[in-house]
Symmetry: none
Subunit: 223 residues, 2 copies
Amino acid sequence: MRLLLIEDERELADALSRALSKHGIVTDHTTHLADAFELTRQNSYDAILLDRRLPDGEGLTFIPMLRRTGTDTPVIVLTARNEPLERVEGLDVGADDYLGKPFLVDELMARLRAVLRRPPSLTELQITVGRMVIDPLHLSVTVESTPLDLPRRELLVLAALAKRKDKTVLRSTLEAAVYNYEEEIQSNALDAHISRLRKRLLDAGAGVAVHNIRGVGYLLKEE
Amino acid sequence: MRLLLIEDERELADALSRALSKHGIVTDHTTHLADAFELTRQNSYDAILLDRRLPDGEGLTFIPMLRRTGTDTPVIVLTARNEPLERVEGLDVGADDYLGKPFLVDELMARLRAVLRRPPSLTELQITVGRMVIDPLHLSVTVESTPLDLPRRELLVLAALAKRKDKTVLRSTLEAAVYNYEEEIQSNALDAHISRLRKRLLDAGAGVAVHNIRGVGYLLKEE
DNA sequence: CCGCGAAGATTGCGGCAGCATTACGGGGGA
DNA sequence: TCCCCCGTAATGCTGCCGCAATCTTCGCGG
């Protein structure tokens, strides 16, 4: 997936680009509306992230311009001006969504998915993998009907993986599943959890394997 | 326009109904999920407003239920629980938007307009080619429902090809899908990725072939 | 039908980023 | 007070991926 980011704060833009790249999203970045317009002509983006306050004008004016060229690429407006009335304004000129700064990258991702019309992920009540049954709502795990109690964080990781068993779960999704955004994470804590979780699953004979996809994330499958 | 409002606070519900009626919107109101489900079967709504905390359960669980019946009516979640992570949760189970209480009716209106304006399924969320199913948003690939893990770059190439299956994808488009501006490329790295991807797809028996159109690009089709 | 050049295919190599594992210690709960 | 969770960081390793060399295929012109 490829995004166009129109944002004049270098620092934020860089951070965002880096964060998005972890989701496998390629980000083009520009600080000016004029350049942005040119870029949309040369490339086809899946979505556009648009700041309101830009060096060469109010970002919102970009949207009608874009629409007039027949492009219906979704636009998500990012801005510190997050008053209700301003949100109305943004949505009414044709933005698809409006996100106040500061925001979680994961919320951005979620809104991206929503905007791109991601179909609903069915949430099952109980998930069976290998010899293990997981109830992600109640956070309980049993192996062959004997309960397995895992530390909280490992449990969260496992639940997040189980919800999408046999499919990759992005690393950042796992981080979001385990940490809220006050708890910043500045080490390989997640890796450590994965490692310990693996060991515990092995000891319990759960019949599952946590598999890594380098640069993308992890996935849970039967072994 | 006709809405379904699922909300257990009588007072808020009444006030909202009155306010919406001024905009020419007809509102059906119920306080329980069970009734709501019945109502969606009997009527066709333009959108659904959904509270999270309801007498008979968490409102979010309603969304997968609804989607499973094949209904893609937009759902806007209304709730006091407006923490970022909770918003992610809401959007990820298939809500189209999320609105924290208290909110302005005008903002609700704007979001309604935005949600109703969205073109139906801009990007498919799952693409099936041959024996393979690709989820370009979550970057996961399965062959006959067994996961296939591909390196990141090969994954991006495949996703780009799959999005336009049976159609040629320009070489430059592929490069754009895999690399951003900073990552310059001065070799046949893309060719190498294609080659390795082909091998992996063959080994996995994916039932697809990556064809080359000399001087133009590549295309993915079933074999 | 043949030859030639350009584009593509394939493969080994090496650097290095990302991952796995583990030990350590602080901190909180029983 | 003891135990275990869990964040941190050091260490070693794996395999992705950019690169380039070499071989193959394609298409065109004569």
